[in-house]
């Protein structure tokens, strides 16, 4: 029988995602919830799940190692993969922001000739500065980006914030929002054609559940 493979991101969104999948009627094995198993099936053996690092989900899906995936919009836009994005899930909400020390508020960034910006999102950051006509040098980091302006590695940073607490704790303020992010269902373009019914049915079930949770206000993916 045809099966679909779904790539899920480990970490922050994991519990909410597994809860969503359970609530649309799929029974998951014990090991799935502890996060130790990297590959598991639902009880009916219709779906195979793989747990991947969040930034890798679009890659698994574009290459066809998974038919569908759930990824943050931030990761998706940064990866520039060719995927369908039929459904937003309404959770995992956060913002990609430009932030820096409070005095940066009064600076006209267009007049700075060598602005240094630390980020985990070099592509989105570059694109933003390019569109704004600001010349910036991007310093790619893989974590604790808030540190960079504090120790003078960079003037500003571009990073994801949920509540903004980490920024405040380090004496930093938000300057600009680059992107409103949330969890999104992504689909491999070939799978969308070749397993059209299966994919569509799964998306419809998820959309219905999401719609109910939002009190019927969502009208996506009909």
């Amino acid at each position: 029988m045809e099966k679909l493979t779904i790539a899920l991101p480990k970490g922050r969104l994991q519990d909410q995602m597994l809860d969503l999948i359970t609530s649309v009627g799929y029974v998951l094995p014990q090991g799935a919830l502890t996060g130790r198993k990297l590959v598991f099936y639902d009880q009916s053996q219709q779906l195979r799940f793989i747990m991947a690092k969040p930034v890798d989900v679009p890659t698994y899906v574009e290459y066809g190692a998974a038919d569908l995936g759930i990824a943050g919009l931030d990761v998706l836009r940064e990866s520039k993969r060719e995927l369908y994005e039929p459904l937003r899930l309404g959770f995992g909400k956060c913002r990609l922001v430009l932030a820096g020390p409070p005095e940066a508020r009064n600076r006209n960034l267009r007049l700075v000739s060598n602005l240094r910006v630390a980020t985990k999102y070099p592509r989105l950051a570059l694109d933003y500065f390019y569109r704004q006509g600001i010349s910036a040098e991007i310093i790619p980091l893989s974590g604790s980006v808030e540190l960079a302006p504090v120790v003078g590695l960079a003037d500003l940073l571009v990073d994801l914030v949920e509540t903004g607490t980490t920024l405040r704790d380090n004496g930093l303020v938000e300057l600009e929002t680059l992107l409103e992010s949330e969890a999104v269902v992504v689909v491999n373009r070939a799978s969308h054609k070749l397993h059209f019914q299966l994919v569509q049915e799964l998306i419809n079930r998820l959309a219905e559940e999401i719609g109910q949770r939002a009190g019927g206000s969502q009208t996506d993916a009909n």
Partner: protein, 419 residues
């Protein structure tokens, strides 16, 4: 043991050295396509590998413009490596073949160059094969391009594939009375292609698209499936031109259906190829295990007129490397037989005979003795070794067995090997 390649031996990112079974597999695919296209009445066209940048690029999509390899000649003219062969075929047809009997049918197989991020099945240099049918603006011509696409994918050993078929005219007609900047239009197309309903609603809102038009566009990503989607699309059609686009799509689908090919077709009005020259049907083929299309094509009725004659046209192209990245086809390269002393007059006659029969014959040029030759044959996976003598007797070694044969007996054997 692997060892580092010396610096002089390295090659740039995005290009590949292809040899042995892989190169033979490409040759086999090319041969199959030469035969197929010729069999459908298409004649080969061989455009130059590089041309003036302005010619190649002005007609291409913005995405292709970004991906073109450019360079200057000694007079300071900007040149470019071709990113596809459709524009070149249009140039040749429009500027040189305008007074020929119509329609014109051409096929090409050659390398194209795009500055893309290298990844599986996506290289900066790859082999493109395709056809262009010029001078016929009919549903039959559209259907022929699609039938030939499906047949080509079959010939290349693919079974599990789908062609996503849309019509750019539906969106174009729907937006006919809306004025959008080029960048806005591209962004709108990109958002439709991603099938992200919320982003689409947002973009339609931001660009202040009138409500009746926005309602149609919002449905585009969902108008995907079998011919039943055409009913809803018809109900949504807001003007004569968008209805005409659907009628053409339906005619093409009907022709393919009658030919027993519709199981490979998914109608999809969200299929918008981001190539500026398309004007009618547009399609892309997808195969299992590859997230990007293996082939694509469509109708471009306004491209050729830039070069002189006003010829409507339709065509498709596919990437051989992308096909191979999925089928993983290999073509054996080992010769059928290895011959010692193959240039000795007594032996040369036998070698010629074998080659005339179509056998692959390798002749030793290192003056090796029997044991060395047999060891070499094993390494190269050659199944037979033939040793000559002064007495016109031949020693045939197959695996661990050997026999002595007269030239008549040898001839008898050859015929068996071939069959």
């Amino acid at each position: 043991m692997l060892r580092d390649v010396v610096k002089q031996g390295r090659i740039p990112h995005g290009v590949a050295d292809t040899f042995y079974e892989d190169a033979a597999a490409i040759t086999a695919l090319e041969r199959a396509l030469h035969d197929l296209f010729t069999g459908w009445g298409y004649a080969r066209i061989i455009p130059p590998t590089f041309e003036y940048y302005d010619m190649l690029v002005t007609q291409a999509s913005e995405q292709l413009q970004d991906e073109v390899f450019r360079f200057f000649d000694r007079e300071g003219q900007m040149l470019a490596l071709r990113p596809d062969m459709t524009v070149q075929t249009a140039r040749i047809a429009g500027s040189k073949l305008y007074d020929q009997a119509l329609p014109l049918r051409f096929y090409y197989i050659g390398h194209v160059f795009r500055y893309e991020e290298p990844q599986a099945g996506k290289q900066r240099e790859f082999t493109q094969a395709g056809i262009e049918l010029l001078g016929a603006d009919t549903a039959l011509a559209d259907a022929e391009a699609l039938s030939l696409t499906i047949e080509a994918l079959h010939q290349l050993g693919l079974r599990d594939f789908q062609i996503n078929l849309g019509h750019i005219g539906y969106l174009a007609a729907t937006l006919a009375d809306v004025s959008l900047a080029d960048a806005q239009r591209r962004n709108l197309e990109l958002t439709i292609e991603r099938r992200n309903p919320r982003d689409l609603a947002q973009v339609l809102d931001e660009y202040q698209i009138p409500k009746d038009i926005a309602n149609v566009i919002r449905r585009l990503p969902h108008l995907s499936g079998d011919k039943h989607i055409l009913q809803e699309a018809h109900a949504l059609a807001i003007n004569r031109d968008s209805a005409a686009a659907l009628e053409r799509l339906e005619q093409v689908y009907t022709i393919l259906d009658q030919a027993g090919l519709s199981q490979h077709i998914i109608l999809d009005l969200g299929e918008i190829r981001n190539m500026s020259y398309y004007t009618g049907i547009v399609f892309r083929g997808y195969i299992s295990g590859l997230g990007f299309p293996v082939c694509g094509g469509g109708r471009y009725d306004t491209l050729v007129r830039n070069f002189g004659a006003d010829l409507p046209a339709v065509g498709f192209a596919l990437s051989l490397e992308r096909v191979l990245s999925v089928t993983k086809a290999k073509e054996p390269i080992a010769p059928d037989i290895l011959v010692q002393w193959g240039y000795h007059p007594l032996c040369a006659e036998q070698v010629n005979r074998m080659r005339k029969l179509g056998l692959r014959v390798e002749v030793d040029v290192l003056n090796r003795q029997e044991t060395e030759l047999v060891a070499y044959a094993q390494q190269r996976r050659v199944r037979r070794v033939l040793l000559c003598t002064d007495t016109a007797e031949f020693k045939l070694i197959e695996g661990s067995q050997s026999r002595w044969l007269s030239s008549e007996q040898l001839l008898g054997e050859m015929v068996l090997w071939k069959s």
